[in-house]
Assembly symmetry: C2
DNA sequence: AATAATCATTAAATCGATTTAATGCTATTT
DNA sequence: AAATAGCATTAAATCGATTTAATGATTATT
């Protein structure tokens, strides 16, 4: 049987059933691998299978989802898909999801609680099977409600202390503590920490790691919190002011890749020499830090491991119907990339 | 065997109808703004509206899509979501789409024809209302088939000469021609062009612009085409070999941001001085080029305009049922960011 | 031979909406 | 008084699948 190259109307299960003079129930059973269980004759199974392959029939997944309640779609909510950290993670999660028969619907929350709330509602409405979320502050109730309704949820990059669910993150506190200690051991004494103002766990932990290191070493902290904005000028402005005000600084620690990138721009514009005027370290590693001259030390997050863990945990939740497994938290190690080995001590 | 304790069953239109002692048809008419048209009594409308608001009923969109054939979802296929160019475009398209009541399902094609084919089939299956695609080579028939079946399709970043459909791209040929001319006017004579091996329109046009400029100036072209790979080592290897082989080069033009970034890494590893040993220009602009020292001149694509155009064209197609409008191609201008103003002539 | 059990298949209900065609009522026209 | 038109609402069909319960035909058991 020759098929028209472009058939306008998609075939339905009824068309298949009619053409083969078999009931659609039988077709459905066969296509869902229940032929044996339903003791459907071998030749019938073959005949149906052959025809289905031939015409390339694929069940309408909307109808399927409506009936079964499953969509095979995972909702992924990152902070900002144009941030290289989240873009890379999204890419990896997408790959792993596709390999396991799931598709991804994604969106950026902008750390905006209301926007996130709407997006969750949208995902819910679309009957996504599971949620992967880098949650903004204030979204606790909505996430709790999801979980209460039995939806599989995995948080990443940060977590919500008041919500008991699975999450994947890195050892933020130790990472900044360790990197700060490194600076201190190299002889730097006036180390500033510049970050976005945020109460999110990962941001607080990173800040705490810095504080702990300074505290332990009897040094004075210099902390600058900047209000996040889409407009880079509004980030660079306060940064500029801060750096000009504190001439005594000999090192700066940036709390995220975005702060770090803006920081580099400001440092360039001020004509500061790295590391003679100022030593630098940033959280998150990417090409900008590798290619800056001299290259900037950075705390590299294990993005592959993060993506893998997130997907593994979620698939696990999706496949085991049991709701009674206690939630697990996975804390991954970071990799401190030390670059530009000039020690302060050497210069002194 | 224990059921979730507080599993709240979502309300359906039947529940609403029963509770108000009205038929579901009436509810549906009212909620779809057809009350007036159907002359439904004002008090009834108010009563229904009030109750619906009160209980927060939202129609099941799967059922709605199944019946109407519309999903309010746009499928977005980029080459690689972790590439900053595509990530930024995706982010902007997402914003514009949400503002117009559409959601985005996205995926990365990797420029892999078979993967793209599967993804198109997946989107189709999910009944997306429209397609935004940065198409790989060899996908002509699949796209044509989509269009023939009446699906709105907008291509971007490149187009398929054998497929007549709407597309948004930039003036690639002029952009490289212009930037190359700039190098020539500054006195550079041995200018190489390094790109990914590809027959895609944008890549061919960029290459042609370079060739035209050199041809016009009577200079000899040096072209290096690299096979794309996820593994950066496999890009940097050939690049390294090429640069070491052609010691006479005084300038290099990178055809994409990715080639450019890898190029910078190789140049750093070879210890070459920019621009004394080698002047650089790259297609696509981003932080890496701005922050490299000295900063690298780059051809900035107007990503906001691209995203806006893409969405505008697509929404236009979605709203006008008429299939007879001839397809439009939008060609946008780029912005050549000249950095590090040292002229070759000065040094000579 | 009547009953039960097994087999292979299918009719009909269902998911939750939209939409077409029909209903019963009142008011107006012939 | 019968026919027509207008009004307000709804029953039933539909989208395309899955799933439950039923069917008729054999075969085995009592």
């Amino acid at each position: 049987m020759t098929l028209p190259k472009y058939h306008v109307k998609k075939l339905s299960i009824v068309d298949i059933a009619n053409h083969l003079n078999v009931s659609k129930t039988t077709i459905s059973f066969i296509l869902n691998g229940r032929a044996q269980e339903k003791r459907i004759g071998k030749e019938l199974v073959d005949r149906v299978q052959k025809f289905v392959d031939e015409v390339g029939y694929k069940p309408n997944s909307l109808a399927k989802s409506l009936r079964t309640g499953k969509s095979n779609i995972i909702g992924l909510m990152v902070e900002d898909i144009s941030n290289p950290f989240f873009a890379s993670i999204a890419r990896l999660i997408e790959d792993r999801a596709y390999k396991n028969g799931y598709k991804i619907i994604y969106c950026s929350t902008d750390n905006d609680t209301n926007k996130t709330r709407e997006l969750i509602s949208m995902f819910r409405d679309r009957h996504v099977d599971g949620y992967i979320i880098a949650p903004p502050e204030g979204i606790e109730d909505d996430i709790s409600s999801l979980i209460k309704d039995g939806m599989p949820v995995v948080l990443f990059d940060r977590h919500l202390p008041k919500v008991s669910t699975d999450f994947v993150e890195i050892d933020n506190l130790f990472s900044t503590y360790n990197a700060t200690m490194h600076l201190i051991q190299q002889g730097y004494k006036n180390i500033a920490y510049i970050t976005f103002a945020s109460n999110q766990t990962q941001m607080q932990d990173r800040l705490q790691g810095y504080k702990d290191a300074l505290d332990e070493s009897g040094l004075k902290p210099f902390i600058q919190e900047i209000v996040f904005s889409q407009n880079e000028e509004l980030i660079m402005g306060p940064l500029n002011t801060f750096l000009k005000k504190h001439k005594n600084l000999d090192a700066v620690f940036f709390g995220t890749n975005h702060v770090g990138t803006c920081g580099l721009k400001v440092i360039n514009s001020l004509g500061l020499k790295v590391p003679d005027d100022l030593a630098l370290v940033s959280f998150d590693d990417y090409d900008v830090f590798k290619l800056f001259s001299p290259p900037v030390s950075a705390i590299a997050q294990p993005i592959e491991a993060i993506a893998d863990s997130v997907i593994t945990v979620l698939l696990n939740k999706l496949n085991t119907s049991s709701q009674h497994i206690s939630s697990q938290s996975i804390i991954l190690k970071t990799d401190f990339q030390i670059r530009g080995s000039s020690k302060k001590a050497d210069k002194a």
